[in-house]
Symmetry: D2
Subunit: 464 residues, 4 copies
Amino acid sequence: MSSKKPWEGRFAAPTDQTLEDFSESLSFDRRLYPQDIAQSLAHCEMLIRQGIIEEDIGRRIMETLKEIREELDAGTFPFDSAWEDIHMAIEARLIEKMGPAGGALHTARSRNDQVATDLRLYVKEEIGEFRGLLSDLMAAFIEKAKEHIDLIFPGLTHLQHAQAVRFSHHLMAYVEMFHRDEERLRDALKRVDLCPLGSGALAGTTFPIDRVFVAEKLGFRDVTRNSMDAVSDRDFVVEFLSALSLIMVHLSRFAEDLILWNSTYWHLIELPDTLATGSSMMPQKKNPDGAELIRGKSGRVFGHLMALLVVLKGLPMTYNRDLQEDKEPLFDAVDTVRSSLRMAALLVKGLKPLLEEMEKAVRQGYLQATDLADYLVRKGKPFREAHGIVGKLVSYALASGKDLAEMSFEEMKRFSPDFEDDVSEVLSVERGVDQRNEIGMTGRESVLAHIAYAEEHYLKSKEE
Amino acid sequence: MSSKKPWEGRFAAPTDQTLEDFSESLSFDRRLYPQDIAQSLAHCEMLIRQGIIEEDIGRRIMETLKEIREELDAGTFPFDSAWEDIHMAIEARLIEKMGPAGGALHTARSRNDQVATDLRLYVKEEIGEFRGLLSDLMAAFIEKAKEHIDLIFPGLTHLQHAQAVRFSHHLMAYVEMFHRDEERLRDALKRVDLCPLGSGALAGTTFPIDRVFVAEKLGFRDVTRNSMDAVSDRDFVVEFLSALSLIMVHLSRFAEDLILWNSTYWHLIELPDTLATGSSMMPQKKNPDGAELIRGKSGRVFGHLMALLVVLKGLPMTYNRDLQEDKEPLFDAVDTVRSSLRMAALLVKGLKPLLEEMEKAVRQGYLQATDLADYLVRKGKPFREAHGIVGKLVSYALASGKDLAEMSFEEMKRFSPDFEDDVSEVLSVERGVDQRNEIGMTGRESVLAHIAYAEEHYLKSKEE
Amino acid sequence: MSSKKPWEGRFAAPTDQTLEDFSESLSFDRRLYPQDIAQSLAHCEMLIRQGIIEEDIGRRIMETLKEIREELDAGTFPFDSAWEDIHMAIEARLIEKMGPAGGALHTARSRNDQVATDLRLYVKEEIGEFRGLLSDLMAAFIEKAKEHIDLIFPGLTHLQHAQAVRFSHHLMAYVEMFHRDEERLRDALKRVDLCPLGSGALAGTTFPIDRVFVAEKLGFRDVTRNSMDAVSDRDFVVEFLSALSLIMVHLSRFAEDLILWNSTYWHLIELPDTLATGSSMMPQKKNPDGAELIRGKSGRVFGHLMALLVVLKGLPMTYNRDLQEDKEPLFDAVDTVRSSLRMAALLVKGLKPLLEEMEKAVRQGYLQATDLADYLVRKGKPFREAHGIVGKLVSYALASGKDLAEMSFEEMKRFSPDFEDDVSEVLSVERGVDQRNEIGMTGRESVLAHIAYAEEHYLKSKEE
Amino acid sequence: MSSKKPWEGRFAAPTDQTLEDFSESLSFDRRLYPQDIAQSLAHCEMLIRQGIIEEDIGRRIMETLKEIREELDAGTFPFDSAWEDIHMAIEARLIEKMGPAGGALHTARSRNDQVATDLRLYVKEEIGEFRGLLSDLMAAFIEKAKEHIDLIFPGLTHLQHAQAVRFSHHLMAYVEMFHRDEERLRDALKRVDLCPLGSGALAGTTFPIDRVFVAEKLGFRDVTRNSMDAVSDRDFVVEFLSALSLIMVHLSRFAEDLILWNSTYWHLIELPDTLATGSSMMPQKKNPDGAELIRGKSGRVFGHLMALLVVLKGLPMTYNRDLQEDKEPLFDAVDTVRSSLRMAALLVKGLKPLLEEMEKAVRQGYLQATDLADYLVRKGKPFREAHGIVGKLVSYALASGKDLAEMSFEEMKRFSPDFEDDVSEVLSVERGVDQRNEIGMTGRESVLAHIAYAEEHYLKSKEE
């Protein structure tokens, strides 16, 4: 089936079917129909206002477009694979329904600026949606943090026990990450929120159009300022994919933590049965597949970012058909990150810390060692020397199989005469945690302050 | 709808719908049903032979599997989104049709080795298909090269006129590229062609299975040698995606050349109307969209390669659900490269060199300059000096707006006394081309020899 | 040489040399010494103010640090490969010069927050530098655009002649791109400009430090709000690399245009001999190597972005040594993009449009076709029909080897009775260009307005 | 300093310093001097044999080249940044030492084929080196596997306890991975091992050269077959980088396992103090930095692969300066993977399994569950039903806090009447492991057979 091209005038033969199949985008760009019709309505209204097309024709076009939107909403639109993209499909339907006069809609417009406008409208909406999803996820973390505000467990570096921290402090670390993501999207929005319509194929148009009217009608904050740039600019998609990639970095890190917490060895949390899966062969398994899939899906989003950078690399001015390759990576990234964010929020809500296990974990790994060095500093040792003394103490403890808290005062004295009675306080893990109370630290007050700050500043942001 | 899990024994609550939707792969892995049923048939036959399941149950399973394959072929298989993947969907249908005894099929098998086996069968078949597609494309280039064996045009470096070459020589350069691609796939095949079935979930099985029998039945050249590696090995997918990425590099380079040849400025070839597209706004346009899309699609395939590398990075032993993310990049890469190869073959066949324009192009850019330097070398100048003399000569020619062939003998003498009467021969572009006749060069004999070599060694390879 | 570890207390044996070599970062992180010393000065001053270390020791530390900075500035600092990184090298030198009391400097600090602070200071400064470089490049484009404000040449889509545009309009398209880049860096700065010092290894510190004092001293706008996040956050590097990648996209597109303009076939510009290179074999060659290298270097920067995303993927909390792999990609990306921006500015300044060749180019490719269709629309045809008529007209012109401007009025009438006397005006390419005068179009007024806008809003931005 | 260009004849002005700095490659391609001199010697010998240059001049060139090689070996070669690359530096030195006659060396050669030849010689040698490094690493794993042949520990899927396996079996899984890597390099070698010399700038040469003689002299297996392809082909670098990327995937997976085994929670192995590092703040830390860096460095190698794919994408024929961007990614990837392989071998040799901890770990996670299901199958249950019964049994065990081996026979009977006395055998983890004795499984015989196979077939391969 090869026909119905809007540009067949200059051509003596129809397009080869292989090329038709190869170049069609209708199978995936139909997702843009709401944006395309909104755009056409605004464009048409402007054409009427400017006297470029006759009012009655213009009105009929607008009415018919609304009918078409209803068909599309209802799933009754007669899709025909002969149309290469959603823009042509809608225009063809328009002409089918109202006759050749419908052809006036494309006056002063090219598919180049039309596609760019649809895509910007789409990304704009998605940014709004993602800011909401990020806010939901942050809210879930904050809720969980508040619920377990005083739960202590081992903070790790290099996957080794390092220093005791509040579990809530660990959870709030993710909130910082997702807050940055949200802020980044807000910044990216500025560069999306410009209307390219009126840029034509590359040079604008000879008709006396009103670009600002259309932009306002469509809710854009401004118009683009150079037509040649505007029809070939996909920066906003790259920037959005970069922001989505960082979201996936953060989600993959949370997923990793969750998988570790949930591993048989660590056993620090329990997932509800509703959020785990089993094995086809091993009857005892309860696997954190949701988290593993989130972690794995990061690759996909990075790949899409890379794909678009490659598409754009070295592309000569202005529009080249390569740009059609922007949509599928974008759409798949949107779907992937959306579902990953939702999955993550569910996992946060569902995870149940195992209090006894955490309590046990805190007794391992000499978590008080740094506090002990700090103690010696307060007694007058330079930090480097204090660090060395405690290092030797830990070696001894390891060799004798003891925890620091189990060592006698005499044993400690052997390593430094500066150890005095008050050292016992330092050996309390919990006390050490609560001594860290400056901004951003893991003490009770600090974490509560962080939670309050986040609730006020981060969650509200979506309402702006 | 949340039910019918093959592993629900240990679970007190059904899976959350969000996780079901997030983790299902049935929507894309159904593509693997022919491999999955072939595998199950071979596995079942082995279970019978080894006395692991009863013969009559085994026979009924095999019959029912064949019926299910017919349903799948015919599109009448009752897909139910409650099944998370094609493997479970088929097993469920089996049990539905023949009762609980169908549950015996999964004896001595896990989804881990099952999926790995299906995927290897799939990649094996695709490698075969791609070797054929590459051979078709090489054949198209060779055909076109033979058709225009004596056509001369400017060879470029840095997109600057450099030295005259045969158009056929340029076309044969691509044949070398695609031949390497074909050879690379053949090598990759060795590492795909190993049967992992019998590796179980990770450790093998306690049943006395016969892995070699199954491997032979499925046409594998051997079995894998370590079960823990076998269930988590996706190297063969990465290696295949790497090979596909290089195919896209080559296709993108050809596409670029084609776009340039076809540009208004160069105007060296004509594409048939059937292989070009127009503009929605500019009535005169005839665009090489097929080539542009090929070029753009390279990004997508590189992105999929990157995606899978990211998935695999740092994955602990053995199977992790992240690995499910191997399929969509693979499938999309296969579809993309397949259609790009077909499109490219069509473009090769369709392109028509514009002989007069090529003739004109050969007169630009001082293509004989190197030959002139070689001439001076033959007269006794060290090459570096000869190069310098001709450089000055070209500067003079540029300043006076003349081609080298238009310069008088006296003018040339001014630059070196070594220029003698016989220099006129060197100024013939065509003669220079045919003096390059060692292996791999652009002279008539060399190119004919290359074509003969390629026809004998490259095109046959697919029949091996 | 294996010794001098600041953490050797707990260890019974020295580090293996292979691991020392593998894990050292001194060979590349010495670049951060100005940031490291600035940080230590601020940290030390705070320790004194807070009474955490004694004033006289603190003062001596600060004096000695300044001496060390002078040694580093002068290149007389005694680098010793036994120190694994610049932080340890400076601390060791401090102790060497002033005795064990120098060990007090590391009180209430870990290398984790120290490294994060240095890196943020570095990126902050680089963002400032790059905003300046972008402004310089924009200024070069604007200057060239003003110089050739009325030069007309063919605008392209699909590398095909499309519609005539101002050369200055084309140049100003790049200004839009680089302006977005500058704006993006400005936004990224917000997330860099936070001081992580005081986050300790992961949990903060038990000393009563004043984080806000240090942050202000170092010129940060605020402090980070969660210590576990702060020591492992490298988002700001990813975001910076993403912005640099887009700069390279834009530079590669400009490079591609330049290479094409400069190609023998197009011959639209001339590069000065100082900005081109020759061939070792072909004496006539004058190659645009600067532009080709810019184009090629895009891959390198994308690769670095990908590298860091891979490093971060799935990293468990908090600090892991993998993070050391952030620096080399960052440093190389900074060096690459810096030199590419400078090279590009030089190329912009140096390129000389070839006026006659551009004039000739405008007569090719039926650039007036769209205007002709618009003409018919004004006469009452729906755009789609007008487009079809002009398409047929172009086919006829092609077949008869004529330019549109060479066709007789009678010939045109054959295609539509709507063609009247006034059509001749439409056939003037220059007139068509100047009819495109709404915002962002290619008419004289539009381009002048864009230039004025850019001069006022884009170039100033660096001074903010 | 801007002078001494070998191609300055045609140029009226010296190269701008910015371009010189931007385009120089001497700072990194000096690594190729051994290849470059070997090539020049072979090329020169051929020029003499073919009578293209005079014997005495040729001999003097060869002698002087050998002197230059000695200077380079000894570090006394007078490097001058005025030379843009190692090829020009050596040629200039040649002429400096022996006079203008040295300029004859470049007869019938271009930098394009010269660079391609050097690079192929380099990659060829590196492939040899890497095959050796992989063999060393495999040998280390095999040695460790033999040492601990009967050590049992939990095999994991989804980071959950799954089934018991031999520790040696786990180690041998990596041997399979690195064997594939070695095989892949061997295959890649075929496509590297072709001599491009004689391809000239792009079209060959008019001199009667003998390409086969040079190829044999340099140890290549054959010559390339198309000059235009040969000067712009970098497939062999991409293929090598792809193979290196997979090596890094495998190393990163091993690193992850090692980090987990070594984590405070798992505590399954001990690293010697020589292979671990400490913390600047926390005195008790002993971190597996070597493994973390290996894991992190994977990103860098993937990034380099991506970089080169981007460089090659859409590059028109033939040589373009973009190709200079092939070397730095290649060199850095070689250095990175080389040191990572060495580091990994050291870690394998150094790691000490903690036998008691492994023994304890085997008692967790219901590792016998699959064997129990298999038991029921042998008693006549279809596998799916058996799986369900054991699932319920595990739920009960979890709820009552018992291991399976601790359950009474009566308790088990409640779940299925098929449980009989002989079930006790199935509850022995060790016995289950040794029942898995088909090819590739984890039983004693299987693993011993795998080790023997690997020793015979994998380690030898480097000697081919």
